[in-house]
Amino acid sequence: MIEALSAMGSVFTDPYLLGLIFATTVLGVIIGVLPGLGATTGAALLLPFTLTMEPVQAIAVLSTIYVSATFAGSITAILINTPGTSAAAATTFDGYPLAQKGEAGRALGIAVVSSTVGGVFSVIVLCIAAPLLARVAYEFRPPEYFALTIFGLSMLASISAGGAVKNLIGGIFGVWLSTIGAERVTAIERFMFGNYDLYEGLSFVPVFIGLFAISELLVQSKMVNKIVETVALKAVKLPTKEDYKRIWKTILRSCGIGTFIGVLPAEGATVASMIGYSEAKRWSKNKEEFGKGSVEGIAGAEAANNAATGGAMVPTMVLGIPGSGTTAIILVGLMVHGLRPGAYLFTEQVEKVYQIFGSMLLANLMFMAMGLYAARLFARVSLVPISILWPIVFALSVIGAYALSQSLIDVWIALIFGVIGFFARRHGFAVAPIAVGLILGEMVETNLQHSLKMYDGQWWMIFAQPLAAFFLILAFLGLCGPYLYSLIIRHKD
């Protein structure tokens, strides 16, 4: 414990890491306020830049981007009614109306404080829950891991963007993509079509750059003529005593909701903020104020979306199952830097793990300072013309895709997946399930194969393992629960 705390504390005394986290927080806030970029795209674009860094520094950069961009989405949500990130969509419901009443500073102050409390709370939960979960994960064998990945895939059905079936199709498509290349055990070639550049399978980095950055570029190209109306901001105001009295319960509730939602595999800040907002409304004594500039609405959404960031890191680091789209990229970052996610990470490299947690804590405190003192400046960044911004994203995407393996095939893969991602989004499919499926794909297949070998091909024996059966039942309920529930209600009526 002392070792862990001193590792966390070392982040605060390491000048290089401090400088790096400060610079990344500034970058994260800029990424967050630029509509369309967001934490996931930002992390995908920055991943190649972390290649030569030490593992802790690299993951600190990615997690800082995650934390600060998630917060910064609220700045544009409040000032220009355009959420910088999807996680800030719920903040527009009350943030912008309050800003229109001439209280933009108050709205931003509440968003900053709520986000910081949510983020710090979730890091504390991460520090406590992750090692505990790691102890449980020691007991996991292939059947349990297989069932867990199936549970993770089933959770895709409830991601907010896209419909349940569409998200599942995306997830399964992602798993299918993971089968491209030579199979690990038998070296049988699958879907390579004679192209030996694909022998090792699809690299995660170019696929993610394509799905998140290039597809977003194509989506943004439809916004060329969008006119943005900005609300004037004089200064960010800290919440008053009256405000605190009204929002403290909401913040605490949203902290719990956000962290819990974040821990669930494949769920993320967007779902958390929506639930945080709706729960804030449900429990509020001033329901009529919601949608017209309620401070509880802002606090509920903002505390929840930042609380989800720490929560989402729990399954990512302990089980190797991404808690959200951005943590899928952080997971790839962990793998690229030789940090194998899982229970052993918490025994063999515990110092590094806590340094990563420490850097997340520091990032939360840094964005608070930036939010309070520089929000006005950052809000101006959002007005950069998209005809300048997105060509830069194009350059960063193709160079970044090339950098990891220094292979042109990765550039073509990024472009192809950019177009695939764009058409998927155009038809209402979210791209995050494809990314999560791609990451989980190898785990699903390998653990299924190992399980079958363990039980001499008797697949039903997987159901005889209590923990595996528990996860499979959860997966079944996650998939069929809502339909069964509606059937029961209809039958009763």
Binding site: P48, F49, L51, T52, G163, V165, K166, L168, I169, I172, F173, V175, W176, T179, E183, V185, T186, I188, R190, F191, L217, L218, S221, K222, V224, N225, P385, I386, S387, I388, W390, P391, I392, F394, A395, L396, V398, I399, Y402, A403, Q406, L408, V411, W412, L415, G418, V419, F422, R426, H427, G428, E445, L448, Q449, L452, K453, Y455, D456, G457, W459
Partner: protein, 123 residues
């Protein structure tokens, strides 16, 4: 599908495709009940951007140099996305790739494929 004590390597992706076909069938059933909203047609910049990706591919294949193709595509992308001041697009198309190239070359020590321009730099 399950042969001996394990699953055949070729069976797993086929199994996935079957599941996805079933899901597509469910989706079409949903669409049959409630037809989805008509998808908005993209405007010029979207299609031109995809065309620029193709131009990028051809240029890299011809010149072998990403750093010839990137500025050209960035410049054209800026213009097709509505940038009226040509010089801004031009400066953006030169400065951005150059700075990223230098960053990758000096700091990250990534070497890019040799081509018309990079040959001059690498010697």
């Amino acid at each position: 599908m399950i042969v001996g004590d394990s699953m055949q390597a070729r069976s797993f992706p086929i199994f996935l495709m079957v599941i996805n076909l079933m899901l597509v069938a469910i989706l079409s059933l949903q669409f049959y009940k409630t037809y989805p909203k008509e998808v908005e047609l993209e405007k010029f910049p979207t299609w031109s951007s995809m065309l620029l990706f193709l131009i990028f591919y051809i240029m890299v294949k011809v010149s072998g140099d990403m750093f010839v193709a990137i500025p050209v595509v960035m410049f054209l992308m800026g213009l097709t996305w509505g940038q009226k001041k040509v010089w801004i697009s031009f400066v953006n198309a030169i400065v951005t790739p150059l700075s990223v190239f230098l960053l990758f070359d000096y700091v990250l020590q990534v070497r890019f494929p040799r081509g018309w321009l990079t040959n001059i730099y690498y010697g």
